[in-house]
Structures are given as C-alpha cells and as structure tokens.
Amino acid sequence: MSPVDGPGIVNPDLPVDIAVTEGRVPDRSPQEVPELHEVGCPDELRERIEGLMAKYPDRKSASIPALWAVQRLYGWCTPEGIRQAAAVMRVTPAYLESVASFYDLLHTDPVGTHKVAVCTNISCWMRGGDELLDAFRAAAADDPDFFVTGFECLGACDIAPMASIDERYFGPLEPGEAATAIEQLRAGADVLPEKALEKQPLPGGPDGV
C-alpha cells in the first residue's frame, strides 16, 4: 500500500499526510470509532465521560467536557487521550480532534503544567498588559513547566492588567509581580494571595434601587 502503509490509508492517490510521516497518528485510522478494549482507557476517565454523557439529551454534547477531562488527566489533549474519549463516546477521534482544535483552551500539542494567560486585550493593553506578558515570559524563560501566553479578553477588565494563572484570576498586576508568581508556582506556594480576584471588593455604585 502506498504512499504510507497503514490500515487506514486506502487511497494510494492521496497525498502523504504529514501527521502520519511524523508518527503522530496511531496505528489505526482516525476515521473509525476505536473499540474501548484497544485504547487502554483508565476506568476513572471512562466513568467520568460516561457520567458527562448522561447529563445531556445527546451524548455528543459531552464532547467539550470530555476533552476537558482528557486534558485534566494528561495535561493536554493527547492523541491517545482523544482516542480513549472517542471510544467511550462512540465517535471518531477525528471528530473530537476537530472540536479540540477549534477552542483556545484545549491544547492539541504538549504544554507546560502551569498555564499563565495574560490578557492583552484593549482594557488591559491600555494599562500595561503587553509589558506584563513580557515580564511573565522573561520570568518563566525556557522552563518547560510553564506555558505562558497572551490571551484575548478574559472578562476581568476591572482588575486590569490581569492574568489567569492555573485557571484563577489575579490583578491588577505589576510587571515585577510576574517573577514572584512564577517563583511561588515553582515552590508550590499560594500565588499572589492579595491579588486574587476574590479578594477584590465591589467597586460600589449607588445602591438605591
């Protein structure tokens, strides 16, 4: 069989799929629904996804929550994890891959354990969001444990400039606090406790109504 051997490639006229040549594709075509017994899905993940599917009138609605479950377990949406979820959901891995690749928070490539998303949208940009992102990038440098990225509006312009650190919001942040936060993450300590969103008071406004 050509151009690439594998049970899923049936049309020799198709161009070579780079994903196949790079070895990123498992030994079975992503166009088929994998069998549960061949994917080695941990019971915990299977039960979690089955529970999610039961919440919806249509099991496919559990796609995004199932991918979240895969990402929480493996750190990112690994091809193996996607196959496991697909086997439980009885959908093709290609389908889940197409969903995962659409959304910014689902990672189809490996990322660091600690995720730092710095908002660089309008309100944060006006108050130094770009400088804050630079500071986080410098502080994390090449440490593979960290995934630092600029992000679109996170919905917390009241604490601009801000960042989402391991899915919790912090702000307003000075560029100097980036290094502190990274050190605290390395040490497993509480991150910038005084800058946590929950600590921020309501700004007020007339309460006459």
């Binding site: 609605s61 929550p65 979240w68 949208n121 309100s123 679109e152 007020g204 406004g205």
Partner: protein, 423 residues
C-alpha cells in the same frame, strides 16, 4: 437591584440567598402562577436583552411555539466581549439569583431542560455555579416535580473552552451540541429550531437575573426605573483609562458622564477622555464631545450611531493612540473569526494587515480609504455579526480620527524611512 447585597459572601449560598428573600418568587411562580401570567409580566416589563442585541426578552420568549414538545432554555454566560465583565460578577457573587431567574423563565417558556453555557475561562465562577445548582436541586427548586407543580427542570452547567464566537447564539448551540462553534444560517431562529432541533430560548445572564425581580414586584414597578424604551437598571462594566474600573449598577438613562467621570472616577490626573466604546469593543467609538452628555440608554446610543450592546464602557484618554487601539481591536476579531464566512475571515485578516502597515508607516492616506471600504463590505454580509463587530468600531475610528491615522503614518515614515541617499 441585581448587585444588592453582593458584598456579602454568604449570598453565594442557598441559605444566604434565602436570608435575603431569595427563591420566594420561584415559589410564588411555581405554586400560584400560570406560565402565561409569568410570560405576560416579562413582556409587559419591556426588559431588553442585556447580552448585546437589546431585543425584548418577553417577546423572544413568546416566539416559542406552544404545545407538547421538548423545549430548551440556554443561559448565555459566554461573556467574552472585550470590556464586559458584569456577568462574571453576577455569577460569582449571586449565582442563585440567576438560577431562580432561569427556573422562572423556563416556566414561562415551558422548557424542561436548561443549560448555562459559561466560558471555559470562568473556571472558578463555574465551580460556584455547580455548587449553587447542586444546592438548588437539593432544595427541590430544580429537578422533577418542582414544589409539587408537576413541572420538571433539569439544569446543566456547561463549560465552553475558549471561543468568543460561542457567545453568538447559534454558535453557542453548536458548541453545546458538541461541535465546533460555527454560527448557523438564520432563519430558522433558535426560538423555532434551536438546540437539538427543538424550540430554544437563549438569554444572557443579566437578563435572566432580572427575571425574579420583575415577577416578584410586577412589570409596572420595573418600568418605574430607566427610560420608556430602556426600562430597568443596568450593570455597567467601566474599564480602561479610569481611576475606579468596575461594575456599576445604574438606572438606564443616567448621563454617561456620571458613569465615566463620577462613578468610575474619570481618567488619571492631567488626562482627559478622548473617546470611548459605549457598549463593548463591538460598538462604534464615540468621541468625548459626542458621547459624554448622552443619556446611557439603548435608544440614545443608537441615535448617536453606536450601541449600548452589553453595557460595557471602555474609556480611552488622550494618552491612547487611536490607530493602535483600532489595530488592537481588529486583532481580536481576526483571532476570533470562526472562518465560516469569507467577508469576515478575509476582512478581519486584511484589516489587521493594513492597520499594521499604518502603524509601521508603510501606508499612505489612500490605504485608509481601502480600510474603510473593507469595513463597509463586511457589514451585513455574514451569517453572524462578528465581522460587523470589528467593522463598526474600526470604521468609526478611521472616520472620526482620520487625522490621527495620517499623523501616525507620517511619524512612522520619518523614523523608518530616512531620506533617500542620492545615487
């Protein structure tokens, strides 16, 4: 009204919420009211959707067909409009107010299944909602045969995964069905054919949070606040170049100046307001002269050629470069365009490229005409308004601040292109 008692952390719990009289309206509605009565109250209140479009909430609910069929209610909590953070505050501080609103709206719409679609970034708010929903089930306010009314309501908190487009209501439905969040062709509108093909009512968090108050005290009472065409109060997110950014709940129709200068404290010492987005980053910017003295209402903003949108004011003072702000805005929509419709996919891409040329000094004033014409060719030509949401503010910035764009081009040219060396 919506933010009352919000500084009390106990409000998050069922006991705390009930301590302030919470769920009394749900009890009244499920025990004593017919669905039509609730719907009529909502229609009469004139409550306009707080998510962006400002469409009458009661009217939207009345579009759902009657009869025995599975109907759905979706709460749009995907708040991703740059500048908006009011829904986050409402969910974080008062989740039961929203749940009560959803349950009452579901009664009016005869929906048996409801979803809260919350953006994935709001992880801690989703946790808060999960806990509150569990409490509400426990207390019998959700689930089967609510308070002996023989009505059922299932409520699921569904987390998105990071895509602005999912705030568009048909993209939200696709995402909820487990697909990529691409908008659908309309009609059919969701009220007729929405989630899983069934009639679906989709409302914003703040809209639904208003529902218990309206049903508790009546449409007339609600109409006592705000203006004739914009009744009620509004939680306004004010951010950008102001001293006290935050959410402020005001009656609709208050002077915009009061919101920006008094409540939010205005720009820092020595600076002045240059322009502002009155309703999130999709609304055409207004200059200080145009906008500060307008009443903050749906109709006044529309008359001024902009919109109230989600009620999120972003203030730019005289230190902000408008061309850079236009680029920053365009980049957002370029990143978030789902790619389904050509005018939006290509238009956002080329607008970013052209604005980058402007700030690099590689553009000519003629390019500004091209930027403007690209915007005109996006508006109204796509399945949803994401492209329009870039075209309107960018178009307005180029039109109103053309001098500044030309000055930026000239200044950048002077730096990047030293005088030609004679051969």
């Amino acid at each position: 009204m919506l933010l009352r008692n919000a500084e009390d952390p106990a409000l998050r719990t069922l006991a705390g919420y009930r301590g302030y009289g919470g769920y009394a309206t749900l009890e009244k509605a499920y025990r004593e009211m017919e669905a039509d009565e609730v719907l009529k109250e909502l229609e009469d209140s004139g409550l306009r959707g707080r998510g962006g479009a400002g469409f009458s909430m009661g009217k939207k609910a009345s579009f759902l067909p009657r009869g025995e069929m599975q109907k759905y209610l979706c709460c749009n909590a995907d708040e991703s409009e740059p500048g908006a953070f009011k829904d986050r505050e409402l969910m974080q501080r008062n989740p039961h107010q929203l749940i009560e609103g959803i349950a009452i709206a579901a009664l009016a719409a005869d929906a048996g299944h409801a979803f809260i679609f919350i953006r994935g970034e709001y992880d801690s708010q989703a946790d808060i909602l999960d806990a509150a929903v569990a409490e509400a089930y426990e207390a019998g306010y959700l689930g089967e045969d609510i308070l002996g009314s023989r009505r059922d309501l299932e409520l699921v908190v569904h987390r998105g995964a990071g895509a602005y487009i999912c705030g568009e209501e048909t993209a939200l439905l696709d995402a909820l069905e487990g697909k990529r969040g691409n908008p659908r062709l309309k009609p059919p509108f969701p009220a007729v054919q929405g989630l899983y093909g069934g009639p679906t009512l989709i409302n914003n968090v703040e809209t639904l949070s208003n529902v218990p108050h309206i049903v508790a005290r009546g449409a007339e009472w609600f109409r006592g606040f705000g203006t004739e065409q914009s009744p009620g109060t509004k939680v306004v997110s004010v951010s950008g170049c102001v001293r006290r950014p935050g959410n402020y709940e005001v009656e609709l129709g208050v002077p915009t100046r009061e919101l920006i200068m008094d409540l939010a404290g205005g720009p820092a010492e020595g600076h002045e307001v240059k322009a502002f987005y009155p309703g999130g980053s999709s609304s055409p910017v207004l200059t200080a002269e145009e906008g500060l003295d307008l009443p903050y209402s749906f109709e006044a903003m529309a008359e001024a050629g902009s919109m109230l949108g989600s009620g999120s004011i972003i203030v730019a003072d005289d230190s902000v470069s408008i061309p850079h702000m236009a680029l920053r805005t365009a980049r957002f929509y370029h990143h978030e365009s789902c790619g389904k419709c050509t005018p939006c996919r290509e238009g956002t891409n080329w607008t970013v490229k052209m604005l980058e040329r402007v700030v690099r000094g590689e553009a000519t004033p003629m390019d500004l005409d091209i930027v403007a014409s690209v915007q005109e060719n996006i508006i109204g030509n796509c399945l949803c308004v994401l492209g329009d949401s870039m075209a309107m503010p960018v178009g307005a910035m180029v039109r109103k601040f053309r001098d500044e764009f030309e000055a930026v081009i000239t200044a950048a040219q002077a730096i990047t292109q030293p005088e030609a060396v004679p051969a």
